[in-house]
Amino acid sequence: MTPLGYFTLMSAFLFCTGIYGVLTRRNLIGILISIELILNAANINLVAFNKYLGSSDGMGQVLALFVVAIAAAASVVGLVLIIAIYRNAKSVFVEDFNLMKE
């Protein structure tokens, strides 16, 4: 049986990649994809811990499915926002949206 550490390492790696992507990507779509990575990192954890903690009701897997569904909905909303922003500003690069500074 694959040790739990592998899964958590994999999950941590995905999470850090996601965080890195969110912080450094200039493209809004890239940021959205990075957020998906973070969510999936959480999902791996949920599924792995469900298996190793030996719970028989599969609560972790159910929760992971929920997260997948909600992530899909969230990315739809995110994409809609991006399209709205793009229509206004003719740009998908975050450095063009510094309205908070003005």
Binding site: L23, T24, V94
Partner: protein, 599 residues
């Protein structure tokens, strides 16, 4: 009937309020509002004139102030002098408003112009109705303000702005004198009322000083030497304004003031002598400058100074009726001349008389009325100016002032000469440049015709004050009429030969070059004032400005710069990029996790 007089200035005041608030909406209807108000004033003035036969005096509308325990009332005075001024202001004002509808047509500040003129008329009518110095001073400043506003009316032109400031500051010097004079009068005699002036008594040198200071105010307003410098520059304003304010009415306010305070001046011979001397200097000086001036409006301006000088001189030699009579006739023919000048400028688009010439053939109406005005000003029988100038000459002679008599004769010679020069250069001869003149519209020519009728006949009517002067003049003064006629006619003939026939040898021209230079530089008075007053004042201002700029502003800017440099550091943290905030958030989360794990 008498106590309706205070409604006379209210009608133009109403027009002013309407035009200043709703002017943008009214557009060209604002002229109709102003003209209607002016006609209202004229009708009321005529009513007041009719009421004059039932006696005259002053009446109070109510108490205004209490100064040193003495009540000051809103007093209205109604007597022949006031009524004469009321009629002049409202009648000429109405004509000039009608003229302005043509002259100002298409101006971007059309309604504003009529608002100012209405305010001016209101102030001027209030000025002549005031029965005390305080109300007079308020209206006096009111007309000064309107004069300033209207001189600088085309404020896109720097020269107009400069002229407005010059007029305002110069008259203010005189106004300060007037204020001090009336305060001296109040604190020594305890009265602001004109009707008390005949009986006031006070310590001697002080009272003479008060009279002279009051005359200083008149000097500023009536552009008498040495405060005459503003009037020629005031010609930057619209010509209709020059006709109403700077020829017929406002500049006559100084003469009116001296006439109103006449008992005070009579009681103090030195003050009266000052009036006569200043008047004589102004009359001669301005007339001589007018001979060499080439700007048609400036010729008129110097002519106005000169004629106002004659009025002052007439008052100074004791001729109250002569001075006020000349004020009246002058108001008509000088307004006429200015409006003619305006019509000529409107037609040819230049003010330089050297470029005009031969306009008689194209501008028939304007030219005819121009000639009538010229004859009236030059004092040719039987036009208006003849009678009033004759009156001044008779007064000067009867009161044994042969020098002033000579001054008046010399001035009338110069007057006839420069007016002759003007009409021969402008109306006759050959055109000296390729202008395409066109006659002005009816709204401009009709007032000209009406005024020229008055310039012809107003001399016969005589002012309400005139009769007494005529009686004592006697029959043996006909030689004076003859002398003044001969002088004026010969001057016009001289002008004819010199300017139309070119009958002036070059040798004579070169011999008088020094004199010509002196005159064309206006006796270097402007340069003198510039050197004595303007330059040091400007230097002081520059020093004050530099102190203000470097020290006061420097301190304020230092504080601001400090605050800015500190906030500049703090500002760096606020980049406005969501990712930067997110980074800090993530780092913060990491720190918290590390901290939690350690414990």
């Amino acid at each position: 009937m008498m106590n309706i007089a205070h409604y006379v200035p209210l009608s133009p005041l109403l027009a002013f309020v309407i035009n200043i608030i709703f002017g943008r909406k009214l557009k060209s209807a604002s002229a109709a509002v102003a003209i209607a108000a002016s006609i209202g004033s004229l009708i009321l003035s005529v009513k007041v004139y009719q009421g004059l036969s039932f006696g005259y005096g002053s009446y109070h509308l109510g108490q205004w102030l209490t100064i040193n325990g003495k009540a000051l009332n809103f007093g209205i005075i109604v007597d022949p002098l006031t009524v004469m001024m009321l009629l002049i202001v409202s009648f000429i004002g109405t004509l000039i408003l009608i003229y302005s509808t043509g002259y100002m047509h298409g101006d971007i500040r059309y309604s504003r112009y009529f608002a100012y003129i209405s305010l001016f008329m209101s102030s001027m009518l209030g000025l002549v109705l005031s029965d005390n110095f305080v109300m007079l001073l308020i209206c006096w400043e009111g007309v000064g303000l309107c004069s300033y506003l209207l001189i600088s009316f085309w404020h896109e032109r720097p020269a107009a702005v400069a002229a407005g400031i010059k007029a305002f500051v110069t008259t203010r010097i005189g106004d300060t004198g007037l204020l001090i004079g009336m305060l001296i009068l109040f604190f020594t005699c305890g009265t602001f009322y004109f009707c008390d002036l005949a009986t006031v008594k006070g310590p001697e040198p002080l009272m003479t000083l008060a009279a002279i200071l009051i005359f200083t105010g008149a000097m500023g307003k009536s552009a008498q030497f040495p405060l005459h410098v503003w009037l020629p520059d005031a010609m930057e304003g619209p010509t209709a304004v020059s006709a109403l304010i700077h020829a017929a009415t406002m500049v006559a306010a100084g003469v009116y003031l001296v006439a109103r305070c006449f008992p005070l001046f009579v009681a103090h011979p030195i003050a009266l002598e000052t009036v006569a001397v200043i008047g004589a200097i102004s009359a001669l000086m301005a007339a001589s400058i007018a001979v060499v001036t080439n700007d048609i409006k400036r010729v008129m301006a110097y002519s106005t100074i000169s004629q106002l000088g004659l009025m002052m001189l007439a008052l100074g030699v004791g001729g109250l009726s002569a001075g006020t009579f000349h004020l009246m006739t002058h108001a008509f023919f000088k307004a006429l001349l200015f409006l003619c000048a305006g019509s000529v400028i409107h037609a040819v688009g230049t003010q330089d008389i050297q470029k005009m010439g031969g306009l008689f053939s194209t501008l028939k109406i304007t030219s005819s009325t121009f000639i009538v005005g010229t004859l009236a000003l030059a004092g040719i029988f039987p036009f208006a100016g003849f009678w009033s100038k004759d009156e001044i000459l008779i007064t000067a002679w009867n009161n044994h002032h042969p020098i002033f008599f000579g001054v008046v004769l010399l001035t009338s010679f110069l007057t006839a000469f420069y007016m002759g020069r003007l009409i021969f250069l402008v109306l006759f001869g050959k055109s000296r440049s390729d202008l395409h003149p066109h006659e002005s519209p009816a709204s401009m020519t009709v007032p000209l015709i009406v005024l020229s009728l008055f310039a012809c006949f107003v001399g016969f009517i005589g002012s309400p004050l005139k009769e007494a002067g005529r009686m004592e003049a006697g029959v043996e003064t006909y030689w004076i009429m003859l002398a003044s006629s001969v002088v004026s006619i010969s001057a016009i003939f001289l002008a004819y030969f010199v300017y139309l026939r070119g009958f002036l040898p070059v040798s004579i021209r070169s011999r008088f070059k020094g004199l010509h230079d002196l005159l064309s530089h206006k006796y270097y008075i402007d340069e003198f004032y510039d050197f004595i007053f303007v330059k040091p004042c400007a230097l002081l201002c520059r020093m004050a400005y530099s102190f203000d700029f470097h020290v006061i502003d420097g301190l304020v800017n230092l504080v601001a710069d400090l605050a800015q440099s500190v906030s500049g550091v703090l500002r760096k943290f606020q980049t406005g990029f969501a990712q930067n905030y997110l980074l800090v958030q993530a780092l913060g989360l990491v720190v918290i996790i590390i901290w939690l794990l350690k414990i």
